[in-house]
Symmetry: D3
Subunit: 233 residues, 6 copies
């Protein structure tokens, strides 16, 4: 299972929370799938996308600490012009927030190329503008300085770490107002389906709890509660 994500799976993933997805992944043995500390600049927007990765190393004076960029050779720029519809650009900024990973002009270009979102474990600049841009964007901090102060882009579409979580090119990323979860590509279809089922059940459970039911028998639901649930479907 490695081809493009089906529309059906994409729809299901867009309908569930990142919290539910981490539970589904934990049920399959995956413990570390949520990007700790990476928060949305646009919590009103959610996204589902396939990972297009970009890797930064520390900057050094002989590889160009400046505010000028060459679109023909700079890997950050090449990555932006390689992202396709439904991709999410995921940046390994080594968790460092002392300079931006990119700014709103590149983000606008990504939006025009059909990107599903931008995720970095570093900072973004022009964040006031990002709040007006119709693109789901997640970062650890705002920082006005250009990336080249701190970061040198060296590779795209290689496995990276982002917020201490492995991201393989093609992995499925899902973001909501809580943050971003990484779903290994091969698990996307089954996790999407079961997450949807889990949420339906949990909404039923929540309604009962909200109505005053105790935890015992209700959460987790026992056989009786599950039976009641099934009769409502």
């Amino acid at each position: 299972v490695t081809g493009p994500l089906s529309a059906e799976t994409r729809t299901k993933l867009a309908a569930v929370s990142t919290a539910t997805l981490t539970s589904q992944l934990l049920g399959r043995g995956f413990r570390s799938t949520f990007l700790t500390g990476v928060a949305p600049l646009r919590p009103d927007l959610a996204f589902v996308g396939t990972a297009f990765t970009l890797r930064y190393v520390p900057a050094r004076e002989d590889v160009g600490i400046s505010s000028h960029f060459d679109n023909e050779t700079n890997v950050q720029r090449l990555a932006v012009e390689s992202v396709g519809p439904g991709d999410v650009l995921v940046v390994d900024a080594r968790g460092q927030t002392g300079a931006a990973s990119l700014g709103h002009i590149l983000a606008t270009r990504l939006l025009r190329r059909g990107a599903a979102g931008i995720v970095t474990d570093g900072a973004l600049r022009d964040t006031p503008r990002f709040r007006e841009l119709n693109l789901p964007v997640y970062c650890r901090a705002a920082h006005a300085s250009v990336s080249s102060i701190l970061h040198h882009p060296v590779e795209m579409n290689v496995p990276i770490g982002c917020a201490d979580v492995l991201v393989m090119p093609g992995d499925v990323l899902v973001g909501d107002a809580e943050g971003v979860v990484v779903v290994p590509r091969m698990l996307a279809d089954e996790v999407a389906e079961e997450a949807l089922q889990q949420e339906r059940l949990e909404e039923f459970v929540l309604a009962k709890i909200d109505a005053g039911a105790p935890l015992v028998g209700t959460y987790p639901p026992d056989e009786q509660t599950r039976l009641e649930f099934r009769t409502t479907q």
Copy 2:
């Protein structure tokens, strides 16, 4: 002084800011009473409650790292079903934000049981749902993963550290949009009364400063300013 909090004290505490309360406590020698870095998910809600504590230790594979919970034995679940009206559930998550302390279904149950609030020095999950729940909730971060990834609940109603502040069962916690302060139970009545007095005076002082008065004589108020204040009461 260890019985339930009087309605009068509760009312006074609800009327003052956490900033004023830390000053009152400092005046009595208590230096560390505010939970650094613990922020409200619902800054529009404030609370006064008595501490019901829950202690987590690091998770280990033989004590259950999973997404399933047994309400009969799991201390987290037992704690939720023990919290009573006016209690605030205070979780010692060892300051770790790599998994949640609990999620919105348990929080809904706590709300139905009459809890005054939830405070953790770790993370919460389902935070988008928390923003819709009518319960004052304070945490250090959002994290989608269930608590059992990182935390194993072992005890309730024992002294704990929360955000490096001591919380004894029965201590009074007060939260506003700034954060949470811990008032030792035996000081609650007198601190409540004097905090209220302090705030009345400070509002008077603030009005003068706002009208252009210099600090000298006004803040802190000298005898003349205090006299003026008393005539306005």
Copy 3:
């Protein structure tokens, strides 16, 4: 170039973003000019001001850990009453957020004295009140405790570090919703002018990117794009 900031420069600086200013400063060799992690409490307000610095050292029992302050000798209070119109009070709190740098009554006095803003690499208290005060204020965190728990003020108008950035008395600070940038005084006029030019060009570039232009030729702009830009001016 060390006199008061001209109205023209002040106006230009108020019109550009902190992101643009860091680029201008980087173009002149200055790498570290943005205050990492220092965020606005009032992101709707921006400011331009000249630095009036205040330096804190760690508190010790013989220099007064209390909630009472002497306006005649306390350097924090002397600093507040020395700040003049257009000044921004910049506090070196050693990056520590376990107590406030100051609270809203002193901030109100600063506002009445004409202060352009307040910046600290520590915390502020009474933050709910700050959100109602018509003053641009930037900090790292909210903390209800008074400054004397942690900080002892020793000097004003000396060079300080704030968020690991050098701030010299008289340096120009500019803040927007992203954060605060420090412009060395001698560079303020030229940086202001060139930042304005840069932003005009970038708005033109952004409009093209937004309309679907690729990065190559557009960002950075090549000679053709620059020519187009000039014809629009």
Copy 4:
């Protein structure tokens, strides 16, 4: 399996490295068993012991921040006088190194009571004296201040976290010059035996590598190498 540790298991555990033990535990699914950052003050001494735990919470002015201790009520003192032969005192100091967990006089008492060692995720004081004391002691740092500045002891022999690893009373701790590993009590016998086997094989493998053998076939050993190994035993 919860009784005292057998002399045989103790002997085996004393003969193997903490590195080998973590591998054995990982083979059984236990990922987090080594105390990160906890180093020996006496790297020339190793130990095997059963955990006697002591839990600290943050100090507060009403629970005694002083240099005087009451042996009848102070839980730290009660713990010291409860430790028996073969026990290792394990302190949950919440990872904080701004004051000691205990000093050399209490350590001397522990030595006289037959303690196998002392382990803390905080600091120790009188460390120059510890270097002369014939007791394996592990900590994160040296700090001259007494524990009561920062810590208040509240419980003994409850589950604790130490350096973010779960320690249950009765768990087996093994220390060498690298650090300390926690072996869940029920696994001690089998892990001890298999660790010993693993080390014998690895010494054989190491000798081959040292003599110039490549990794392939040797490390991990293939069937041929294992056969060779068995003929040497």
Copy 5:
């Protein structure tokens, strides 16, 4: 009490441990007097000295990030040539270890000027050479880079923070193999005397504990033990 330290006090302070001194200071209400994380490069050397402080701010390109120094204007160099016999140079490096505070040539000059020691909350360079230099030196780390990369010296003999502890010019610093304690100048004489008394008693207590005495009655010593002690003096 602010003149030079008497030879008698100096002798007493040299005879006691930093652990004992922190206890004496705590008895007088001073909680934070030990430099957390600042370790000796020469644990075989101890010192007593009066503080000569040096304050660094973050470096910036217009104040000289280079490997060349002007002895006439550089405050670091002026400080070195101002240190007198019995002084200890205490550097406020803002706790940053990404470059040195100074190196072994300046340290050799300080030794020749009679300095009692060097203390920094940052790093030192040429640390292999420091291990051969007959001067007590304390730091947080080794770093090969010159100070100007990170630090700009601005003032000497002003109050500073060092490792989050206040150091006033003229305060008495005492260092041993555990680290460094700051004794406020006015307390030096009495603390020296009482620390010596405390240590004599504790040696007596330790001998009893070492011989098998329990804590109760012995540590802290009761009246009987104190009587025994006095008969041995």
Copy 6:
């Protein structure tokens, strides 16, 4: 200049300190060349080598968290068997010390393959054995757990960050008792020669300072001192 390092340059680099090399690199504009916090396990051994890099990403359950390794496919193992004489294996462990980067058996293999050293910004395991192995090894910490708990090796000989410093394959690394400096390959020859000159001059300067000369005129050396120096050569 990218071929193998000449024997002459290697000899010169082995004769100078890492402190001197950082100064030479700073003189050429390179500010960040020393690996902060990376310390030698064998401070008695120094090395000069060319970088053979190995890059780790965070581990995930589908890429093998276990204690078993396949030499045919595991990139860590392939890297070890690719290192040649004079190479130094440099590991990007993302600065994480919660598991080892490798252990002493692989290190022994590297020694037999002619490696000049091992450098990681993470931890090493079997550190007691490393202290007996005749190989210069640098790390941030000791940790008994195997690398696969935390790390998954994905690439070799790509640019990496190590302790926040850029390391390009083929860069020259020099280590002494202070730590490790990265010399960009193209600068190695000239930096080696000038570092040697600098050290000769500094030894002369140090002798004068040691004999009582003041800083002025001596350090930095003025024309007169430089003349004296040249007459001694």
